[in-house]
């Protein structure tokens, strides 16, 4: 589905991404881990088109999308959630979801019918809200919702456009243990047609949802494999899991 080949990106003297390659087949559950500043979010920005790589290519379904802007990549089926909540703050959760659904269905060119009367749009927003366990929060302005609920919605907006590849940037960041469990369950329930790439700091979450793990360090790949393989790699244990070599 999604493939990155030899991505490089520098900011001045800082090499944020060094020769990173990655392949996500259909239905992949892949995690990117690494210490702060290891280039995880830069990698996401390269994949979604917020940044252009200095070198390398991004392919979606075999098609070169390296030169496409984020909105064109989203239309091709690739979208993301953000590390910091990135929502339509003054609108209600229901309106947030309905807008995302309308964008996914390319309904924005309709200029004469009322938004609320678009066939089935609000019902689908409500159904999606329930799936996200947001049923009680749908009618409040998003700005007034608790952080954890906003976080659910953050992932929900990305899901609304029915992506083929979903990139989740620290979906559980700042969440309580209970909220983290709910989010983990939500990610685990995602349809298998969607390939998921997730940046995550919580190793329990990683081991629960990921089938493959890539470890980044100083912008380059330190290790890649199944969670068990990565966990047993000595370099990773030393560098990231904070264990000292015996």
């Amino acid at each position: 589905m999604l493939e990155a080949r030899g991505l490089r990106k520098s900011f001045g003297a800082l090499e944020a991404t060094r020769d990173v390659s990655l392949a996500l087949p259909e239905g992949a559950r892949h995690a990117v881990v690494g210490p702060n500043g290891s280039g995880k979010t830069t990698l996401f920005n390269l994949l979604t088109g917020e940044l252009r790589p200095d070198e390398g290519k991004v392919l979606l379904n075999g098609r070169d999308i390296t030169d496409l802007p984020p909105n064109a990549r989203a239309r091709a089926g690739l979208t993301r959630s953000f590390q910091k909540n990135n929502l339509f703050l003054d609108l209600t959760a229901r309106e947030n979801l309905a807008i995302a659904l309308a964008i996914g269905e390319r309904a924005g060119t309709v200029f004469w019918r009322r938004f609320e009367r678009m066939p089935g749009l609000l019902a689908r927003a409500e159904a999606l809200g329930e799936r996200l366990r947001l049923a009680d929060a749908l009618d409040a302005p998003v700005r007034t919702l608790p952080y954890g609920t906003q976080r659910q919605l953050e992932v929900g907006l990305a899901l609304a456009i029915e992506p083929k590849v979903l990139l989740l940037d620290e979906p559980t960041a700042g969440m309580s243990a209970e909220e983290t469990r709910a989010m983990t369950a939500l990610i685990a329930e995602l349809p298998r047609e969607i390939a998921v790439l997730v940046i995550e700091h919580d190793m329990e979450v990683v081991f629960e949802i990921a089938e493959r793990v890539t470890v980044l360090d100083y912008g380059s790949i330190l290790a890649e494999g199944t969670p068990q393989e990565v966990r047993s790699t000595e370099a990773v244990r030393r560098r990231y899991l904070g264990e000292r070599a015996p």
Binding site: N71, E95, I99, V110, M118
Partner: protein, 321 residues
């Protein structure tokens, strides 16, 4: 949140329409001319609200399209001798086309740079019409062809009829813009205003929507300019001075961003204050400035926020009901 407000807005709009028609019946010659001016400025302000209030694009050059609509009508009727019934839609189209072309460049930048680039385009238009001999220079063009309304027993040379046509036009423009801004297209503009980068990440071609909003706002401003030229049969570079862009922006902000009726109310207050204060004191601009500072500071959502505190317009208040 937005849906519940809509009923209240229609109530305020209906009250304003009733007040305008009542004033038309009661007022004399000068009053009728004022009413026409208010209705025209209301259309102009509502057109800018689409851009500033809904899409979040603050333009300081909107008078360009107001002036272009007026000049296009003047040129079509006096130089090309077109019938006003044909020249009016063509002039609106010309203003929309100009907005489309300016928009292609202007929407590439954001925030303060967008303000500056729209101001620059506005000044270019003003400077051009001031110097251009073909368009009469600072003297402008007089004798703009007026639409023949004999068939319905009206004449635009008569201020009462002109005011009636302008008021009805403002009501129709309000209904059309209220409809468009409540549509999925309008909701995409609000989404861009709220969070442009997220809208883009979800797949919205943000630039195309901004350009569409800019074009729509320009065409509607052009229509206001057409009515302004019909009202006085005269156009001059004064229509495009940057202060006109600034004044209409104040009407929108003071009236209440993204509410359509608020900016229309702002236009009415602007004209009434100007006419009443300027007779009292040469420092009337100072008094007007103080009034607007107070309106922005103490009235949540501008004049619209004040008007919506009138109990009968309140059906439900989402959020704190």
């Amino acid at each position: 949140m937005i849906g519940g407000e809509e009923f209240r807005r229609h109530c305020i709009a209906a009250a304003m329409l009733a007040a305008a028609l009542l004033a038309l019946a009661l007022s004399g010659y000068a009053g009728r001319d004022r009413l026409a001016e208010i209705a025209i400025l209301a259309i102009f302000a509502m057109s800018l609200d689409v851009l500033v209030g809904f899409t979040g694009l603050v333009s300081l050059g909107h008078a360009l399209f107001f002036g272009l609509g007026a000049y296009a009508l003047a040129a079509f009727t006096t130089m090309l001798k077109l019938a006003p019934s044909l020249a009016i839609p063509l002039a609106v189209f010309a203003a929309g086309l100009a907005a489309f072309l300016v928009g292609i460049l202007a929407i590439r930048v954001k925030g303060v740079f967008f303000i500056m680039i729209t101001l620059a385009f506005g000044q270019m238009g003003w400077a051009y019409f001031q110097r251009s001999r073909g368009f009469g220079g600072i003297g402008g063009i007089s004798g703009v062809g007026q639409l023949d309304l004999d068939a319905i027993g009206l004449s635009l040379a008569n201020p009462a009829d002109m005011a009636l046509i302008a008021i009805v036009s403002a009501a129709l423009v309000y209904l059309a813009l209220a409809r468009v801004t409540a549509s999925p297209f309008g909701r995409m503009l609000v989404a861009i205003h709220q969070n442009e980068s997220r809208a883009r990440a979800l797949g919205l071609p943000v630039q195309r929507y901004k350009l569409a909003a800019f074009t729509l706002a320009g065409a509607a401003a052009g229509f206001a300019g057409v009515l302004a030229a019909e009202r006085t049969s005269f156009v001059s570079p004064d229509l495009l001075v940057w202060t006109v862009s600034g004044e209409v922006l104040i009407m929108v902000i003071v009236g209440g961003l993204g509410t359509l009726v608020g900016p229309a109310l702002g236009a009415a207050i602007w004209v009434l204050l100007r006419d009443n204060l300027s007779g009292l004191t040469p420092y009337w601009m100072l008094a007007m400035g103080l009034f607007f500072v107070a309106a922005v500071l103490f009235a949540d959502e501008g004049l619209y926020g004040l008007a919506s505190r009138i109990p009968w317009t309140r059906r439900r208040r989402p959020g704190n009901a």
